[in-house]
């Protein structure tokens, strides 16, 4: 009972209060608490991801094993999962060269490098801040496979230079060019997420066709405000009311001016009311949680 119920409640109270105090007390240990507390959260969340992943695998494996409806697709989900893990933790890619000696014909070497790296006029510009040659110059072009890097290395060695092949270190393989993980990000992840996002354009069109009806006063206001903003902010809107002279009394009826006014005043007022309401709601809920008035999220008993 104590371990399962009271300690969690005490943790909520102590952590919540300390967090709150850290906003007002810059002195140690409170001052830096916020930064670490959020990082601890990230760490807990990262551990929790293992639970999520296991749950996902369980759900799809069960479908697969029992050959439930659409089990083939579960196989794809599982394969996608492991493919990504492989690129994240086992296969890196991202091979590159470190030039350690330019040999006797530096011009030819520079020529070779600038063709391979597609450098323009000033090779030195792009070779980075020219570290000392003893340390080696990292040629910032990455290759998926070691063979392509060796290929380039051989070409350099043909003109007398000496270079060695290296692989990006763990951690930076997430972001370096031409690693398997970044390939997956660019081609699979990006296209899926960007297209899902683009689907919204279609949904927004069908939603406005179906739901934007002048049923009552509220709906009418919503609709009129929406339409004016939509048309007034694109070139076409300016075009439509261009016939109203800019300096006449009626100039406020020009769509771009009207939309700007709605946007800056009535809209801002409504948005502000919602904002204050949300702020109070969050403050209230947080207080209820910290003070232990709302504790259902920890289970009743």
């Amino acid at each position: 009972m104590i371990l399962k119920r009271y300690i969690p409640l005490a943790i909520v109270f102590i952590v919540g209060m300390t967090m709150l105090a850290s906003w007002f007390i810059p002195h140690a240990p409170f001052g830096a608490f916020e930064i670490h507390a959020t990082q601890w959260f990230d760490i807990i969340a990262s551990f929790a991801m293992i639970l999520g992943a296991l749950n996902l695998l369980k759900v799809h494996s069960l479908k697969l094993i029992h050959k439930k409806l659409n089990w083939q697709y579960s196989l794809i989900a599982i394969l996608g999962f492991f493919l990504t893990l492989t690129f994240g933790f086992i296969m890196k890619g991202g091979h590159y060269l470190v030039l350690t000696d330019v040999g006797n014909t530096p011009d030819a070497v520079v020529q070779e490098i600038s063709t391979e790296l597609q450098l323009k006029n000033n090779v030195a510009n792009n070779l980075y801040i020219t570290p000392k040659i003893e340390e080696g110059i990292e040629l910032k072009k990455y290759y998926y496979t070691q063979n392509s890097a060796i290929d380039f290395k051989n070409r350099l060695e043909n003109v007398g230079a000496i270079a060695e092949v290296k692989e990006v270190v763990w951690g930076s393989h997430l972001q370096a060019d031409n690693t398997f993980f970044s390939w997956l990000f660019r081609n699979i992840f990006t296209s899926l997420s960007a297209t899902m996002f683009a689907l919204l354009a279609f949904f927004v069109a069908s939603a406005s066709y179906r739901a934007f009806k002048v049923r009552n006063m509220e709906a009418t206001i919503l609709l009129v405000a929406g339409v004016i903003i939509m048309i007034g902010r694109v070139p076409l809107g300016v075009f439509i009311t261009n016939w109203i002279p800019k300096d006449s009394f009626f100039s406020f009826l020009r769509l771009e001016i009207l939309q700007e006014w709605i946007y800056q005043f009535p809209n801002a007022a409504g948005a502000r009311a919602i904002m204050i309401g949300i702020g109070l709601g969050i403050v209230g809920t947080s207080l209820r949680v910290i003070l232990g008035i709302e504790k259902s999220f920890l289970g009743e008993k």
Partner: protein, 371 residues
Amino acid sequence: MKKRVIWLKAVLFSIFIFSFAISAELNIDVKVDEAEAEGQLLNMTITGTDADADFKVFKKLGDDGEWIELKNIENLKSKVYVENDISTVLKVSIYDDEGQVISEAISESFTTSAKWFNTSRTIRFIFLLVTAGLVLFYISRAKKKKNIYLRPIAGLKAFEEAVGRATEMGKSVLFVPGIMDLDQVETISGVIILGHVAKMTARYETELNVPVARSIVMEAGREIVREAYMSEGRPDQFNTDMVHYLTDDQFAYAAGVNGIMLREKPAAVFMQGKFFAESLILAETGNSIGAIQIAGTGSQAQLPFFITACDYTLIGEEFFAASAYLGEDPKLLGSIKGQDMVKAGIMIIIMLGVIFESFGAEFFKKIFEIG
């Protein structure tokens, strides 16, 4: 030296520090004072020369540190970054055209430290105390006097009706607690509401399906749903996989929930939590399968979609209040009443402020300035 001068804000707690000049011709002077409650920053003011002069500033940390040149100091008033709790000295040297030092000044040693109270946040501290005080006061009153009037919220009444309809049709109830993690108060609120919905599905013996986007939310959701089924005396109906994880990714999650809606065709869809762009995908798909949809969120930008595509929407603060409304605990209801009093106070402050401001008394508005 560049001429552009950014005049940094003068500081209240300026402490006078003695200085001396090596050169008799130029009487320069370096003054420092602490800039922020967090320490680590000094306000440096150099007087006796102008910004055109060729000057350099050095700092020395500790008694036996070395002089380190501070680069990018272009103004006579500048902020200087130092370490807390180490005595620091600043030195200004002025050079002639040949690069010879013609004049130098050294500040008194100064130690910055983080303070025990950040005075620039006093107003916010008072505001917090008043809010917490009001909430606690009305909670204690609610404990004594049971019946507190709270206006009905249409969307909340529909909760039971939606679950009931799903039961009649023999279909499931889908609950989406938003896409954010439990570090957002909206998600906490959504999970609490999930508990109440789970009690209803337990009572009606209706299938409940809760896909989540965060593992921690999955665990919190399981905990609360289990408790709901226990408290309704239906532990046999509970199954951990009611609350299951899809993925952390926003649109992959949306795609996954979309798939669940299309293939399982739930009769009631609850969307309670923090939402972003995926809200429209969920609400539109839910609409196309003909489910009763009840949404609730504090995400301002997503409210219009919910309002147009869902049957009921809990707007902003209504959503946060919902968890207390559904709880029906007098303490929770009392806290809502307390929150209302804060709201009344805000409205009064705004109107008072408008009157003061209109008559040109600007002090009132200044109280609420936060920097």
